[in-house]
Each structure stands twice: as C-alpha cells, then as structure tokens.
C-alpha cells in the first residue's frame, strides 16, 4: 500500500531535520532571545531551508515553544523519577544534582530559561509551570521539611521562604555566572561549579537544621 510506504518514509526521510532545527534553535534562542533570534540564522545553522522551519513548526514562536518543550520541560519532568523520598539530605542532594546536570549539559539552556522567566507572561510560561507542578517536586520537598520541623529535626523556619532560598542558591550561579566569575575573579568555573553542589547543600542544611 502506498499509504504505508509513505508513512514509513515520512519518519525515515528527513534524517533528523526537525532535530537539527531544534538544536540550532536552542542555540539561537539561548543566545539572542525570542525576539533577537533570527529564523534565517537558525535555518542556516541547521543546514536546512528556511521554509522547512515553517513546514515542520508553524511559526517562530511555535518553534520556540517546541524548543522549550523538548529541552526544558522534558528535563524537569524527568526529575520526578530520580526523586525517591528518603533521607532529607539525600533529597536535597538529588535536587541539586538534577539542576546541575540540567543546566550544565548545554550552555544555552540556562540563558533560555532566564529569558523566559524575564518574560513572565511569555508563551510557554504556563507550560513550564505545569511541568514543574506535575513533577510534584516542590510539594514533596515541602512536605518532607514540614515533617522535619514537626519532629524537631529542623528549626521552625518559614518553609516556603526556605525553599525559595534553596532553589535560588541552586540556580543562582547558572544565572549569574558571567557576572560572578568576573567579579569574584573565578578563573576556573568548572571547579567552582563542581564544589558548588556540596557547598549549597551544606549551607542550606546548616541553615535549617535545629541546633
């Protein structure tokens, strides 16, 4: 049947055209933002014709959506799997590690997220939030901390404030690294980053644990 053939070809034909576009788009959106990105440039860096972008995705904005969907949300929801509840310190370490993996794999990623957050009402804000909410991660951690407070293991701190602080500590360096590196004269960012995971967990734990 020709139909069958066609369908199979459809998948086989474009050898990763969509993927090449998505990769180039991630780079460009990360580097220049939604309005600063250029469809021509993305097409050229992907090695495809510009019209193909409109064939596969329908608009620049939709491409942006898909990029975030693929690279960001996928990672966030994947976090759920890695997070089997247990020791509080282990939970914190796991969360930290996931963030570090997520943002470290591709430099463009953090920039992309940054810009998106700066937009607030941007096109994919809702989806990101939905992704995070569905991961139920904040909920779980807050509940673990609540248990800790109740059992007297943790100080009676404002849990949501604490959680915001923890997230901020984790993301902070990714968001601010170009600045921090120069201001603090950090010459080996990789090493600083490697130390950071434990430093963050250590500071936070000492900050909340009862004494």
């Amino acid at each position: 049947m020709p139909d069958t053939e066609k369908k199979q070809r459809k998948k086989a034909d474009s050898p990763g055209t969509k993927e090449k576009i998505l990769a180039a788009a991630l780079e460009d959106f990360g580097e220049h933002g939604l309005s600063g990105a250029r469809v021509d440039r993305i097409a050229q860096n992907a090695g495809v014709n510009k019209a193909m972008i409109y064939y596969h995705f329908n608009s620049k904005e939709n491409l942006y959506r898909e990029v975030i969907r693929k690279h960001l949300i996928r990672n966030i929801t994947a976090m759920r799997g890695h997070l089997e509840m247990g020791d509080f310190e282990l939970v914190l370490t796991t969360v930290s590690e996931t963030y570090f993996q997520m943002f470290n794999q591709r430099e463009s990623m953090s920039r992309l997220l940054l810009r998106e957050m700066a937009h607030s009402g941007g096109p994919v804000t809702d989806e990101i939030i939905k992704g995070i909410s569905e991961s139920r991660l904040p909920e779980q951690v807050l509940s673990v901390m609540a248990d800790g407070v109740e059992s007297g293991a943790l100080r009676d701190v404002n849990l949501r404030q604490a959680w915001v602080s923890f997230i901020s500590m984790n993301l902070g360096y990714f968001l601010l690294s170009p600045f921090i590196n120069r201001i603090l004269n950090i010459t080996e960012p990789e090493q600083f980053l490697a130390e950071r995971k434990t430093a963050v967990v250590d500071l936070f734990l000492n900050g909340v644990i009862a004494r």
Copy 2:
C-alpha cells in the same frame, strides 16, 4: 515659592525630555529586552518625537546603555555609602535591604538586569561589573567573613561559595517571582517579599555561624 519648577530658564530647558525618554525606555527595555523594545513605542510613551531619542541619545543601544547606567549603576555605587562596617549581621541586613530597595522600586528593573545578565557579552556588562567592583562591596563582605572564620565565629566554609549563595538568595525571588508565585501558590507577593529579607539573613547566618 519662586523657581519651584524649572520653567523660567532660557537654555538647558527641555522640561525633562531626556528624563521622560529614560523612564519610558526603562519600561520598554524591561518589558521586551533590547531587541524586543521599539523606539517608536518608547517615544510615544515618553510623549516626544521619535527623532529626539536620536538627538539626545545616539542609538537605541546607547539609550539602553544610558538606562542601565542611570538606574542600575547609580544604585549599586550608592550602596557603598550605606555600608559602614560593623556587626556581621548588620552588614548582611544592609546588603539585603539595598537589593530589596533597588529591585522593588520599579518592576522593570529586575527584568532589565535579568536580561542583561543572560546576555553576558551584552553592551553594558562591563560597566555593570565595573560599577560593582568599584563599590568594593564583595571585597568588604568577604573580608568580614574571613575575619569571622579566623576568629572561630563562623564555620570554615568556602567563602566565595557562601557569598554567591547569599547573593542568589537575595536576587532569586526577584528573578523568579513570576514562576515562584504560581508554583508555591503565593497569593500575596508583597507580604512574602516583606518576610523574605529576614528569612534570607536568618537562613544564611544559621548556615555559616559556628555551632
């Protein structure tokens, strides 16, 4: 009273045209970023002719530079004055307060800074960094903390890591608030923000103080 406003002067008049442009520009750059901002829109919101932007500033990018120069760097360097060394907790509180004042006065500001930081190689990165460096704030705080470690008052933590964490905790909510508010279901951001100052200092202090 005479000379209440500045209407009677012959020259150097231009009743705040530059200021009106700068204000409108801050809004637009904060809302849409450098590339997303529109010169027409800025002119219209400032109530001036579009060409005046090029008369007073020379290009869109230069206007951007001036906006940051005026609103950001001015604040950062002003911090120096407020920071007479004293009690460690007082220092932290002062720093926190300055950040909170700085970003709270105008919503656009945090978005502007956010975007600028995401750019890294952006047009004013150097100036911002210079402004911060000249304020000598990081230097001072690090030295205070070093004293604390030496005297045994503070745990032997990596100071730069701790400092990055403190900055991140302070800026984090400003940068991420649109997300955080919805994810943590924060219905009264003002109150959350008001609590935040002390929460941040409290968590950090407990995190570093020797026990």
Copy 3:
C-alpha cells in the same frame, strides 16, 4: 516554437527579476546619483518588491556597483575585441565609434559615469580603472602613436597629453551636451552627434600628423 521564452524551467526562473532591477537602477542612478537614487523608486519602476533588491543585491551601494559592472565594464572590455590594430586612422575611428555606441545607447549611462568620475574615491572607481587597464586600449594606442612619431609620420607631441585630449574630445559632448546644446543653440543633437565622430577624428589627426 518551444522554449521561446524562459517560462518552463523549474529553478533559476525569476523571469528576469534581477535584470528588471538592474535596468530600473541604471535609470535611477543615472538620473539622481548614488545618494539621490531611491530604492523604493527603483523597486517600483522594476515592478518588484523592494525587499527583492536586498535579496538579489545586498545593499543600495552594491546594486550600484553591479549596475556599473554590467553596463559599463562590459562595454569597456568588449572594446578590446573590436580593436585589431591597423591603420592609425582606423584605430582612432574604432575608439570613437565604441565610445559613441556605448554612451548613445542609454542616456543614463553617461550621467552615471559622469557622477562616478566626479566621486573619484567612489565605490567602483577601482573596478572601472581595472576594466579599462585590462582592456589595454590606452597602452595599445599610445604604442601605435609612438611608432608614428618615430617613423616621422606624426609630430613630436606629448603622447599622453594627446591621448587625454582625444579621450576628452570623445567624451566631452556626452558629458556636456545639456549645456552645449543650449549655449551653441544646437537644435538637432542627433545630427550634431552623428557629425561629431568624424569631426573629432579629423581634428585630432590633423593636430598630430606631421606636415
């Protein structure tokens, strides 16, 4: 007949869009000069979208370059073919004829060249000069004249001065015709032009031949 026009091809079609632009551009540049020409006007007269000018050529200035390249340099280098050495008078006549053909075919051309020469450091000066040099025309004529002087057929005149005079005589009317026609009250320029070829060669020959 099949394939009369070029409508059936798949690619490389664009039924002469580039050519239409070049033609309209020649007119506009000739009429108003590089800075006086208007891209909108060129596009409209060519019957194409303004953006196509930037698609096919990359800037107004580059379009200008291409116009000259196509219409001027092509003619100059073509001269080489017509110039088989022979009788001195024949050489002069050939040169004259080429100039007359070149500038007579399109009124805009002479104006274009005129303006370009007035610019000296203009964008295509180098190319024009290269085109002329490569045609080796001046070289050849000078050498023929040198032979004439040596054999005693020609007076011992300054050859380069003579050559400049000959060129000037040939181009002069094209450059100055709007003025000359009115000052000398020439009511039938075509006839004056037709007589000019022989008049120029005659005057020059008599001026240099030994007596």
Copy 4:
C-alpha cells in the same frame, strides 16, 4: 537712533558668517553632491549653528544655488574682462588659461560643476548657461574662427564641432583626472597639468590651421 545702530551692526556683526557657510558648503557640495551633502556637516565645518544656514539662506537648495552663483558664475563672467580680442592663438591661450585658473584654485569646484552638469535639469543650470551666454565668449570665439576660415587661415572645419572639441580638451583633464592619473600612471599631476595648457592649444591649432 537705535535703528541706525542696528543696521550697522547687522553688517558688522557676523564676521563673515555667510562666507564661512559658503566656503564649507562649496566643499561639501563638491565632495558629495547636492543630495549627498549634509546641512549639519556644512554647519559644523563652518563653525556655525545649523539654523543660521536657514537664516542666511533659506534652504539647502538655495544655498547650493548661492554657492554656484558665487564660485562658478562669478568666474565665468569674469572671463569676459580677460578676453580682449586679438591674435587667434592668443585668444585660445587666454581661454585655456582662464579655465585652468578657475578649476585649479579649488578642487571642489570641478566636482561641483561636473555634478551639476550631470543633472542637466538641475536648479542652477539655467543660471550657469545664462552666465556663459552673457559672457559672450563662445560667440566671440566662433566669430574669430569664422573669420579665419574665410581668410583661408583655417581649414574649413565645422566650427561648432571644433569649439566643442576645444572646450572638451580644456575641461577633460579636470573632469577625468582621478581616472586618467591612474590609467596613464601619471605620478605628478601638477606637472602634467602645467604642460597641458600649451599641449591643448598646440594640438587644437595644428588641427584647424590650414596647411
């Protein structure tokens, strides 16, 4: 009377403001043409406020007119004085000399004239032509030549063609010098120019004199 005072000041006040503007304008128009010239630039180079240009002259185009009036037409009409009829060769030499003086004094001048001629229907074409006609120079020379032909001293050439050739030979180098210098590899233009006057007259005389 204050009125008297004012009037006298009027003339005395601006110490050559108009002149400074005219000088700067000549330069700019010569360098960039009517449409390429910039009022700002002229004002700046003249060291006056831009509005002054509109105070003294009324528009860019009118300034252009005045520049030509002052620098070109003045010269052309001045020629009349220098031209007392006499020996034919003397007449030719005088004409040549006048042209050479006129164009040699200011480099911008020839470019200005060139551009104006390329415009044909330009704003001052009429005035230039009127200036030339009123100088009666062409008329006089043609009549001298006619006498020469009648007396048998000159060959029976087409007088108007000959006159056009003579003018072209005189102006040619000025118009084409940037090109000619490079094509003929003329390294000392001043010397070439100095030789040119006699070369032109010599060639023309030999071309028309009966043999």
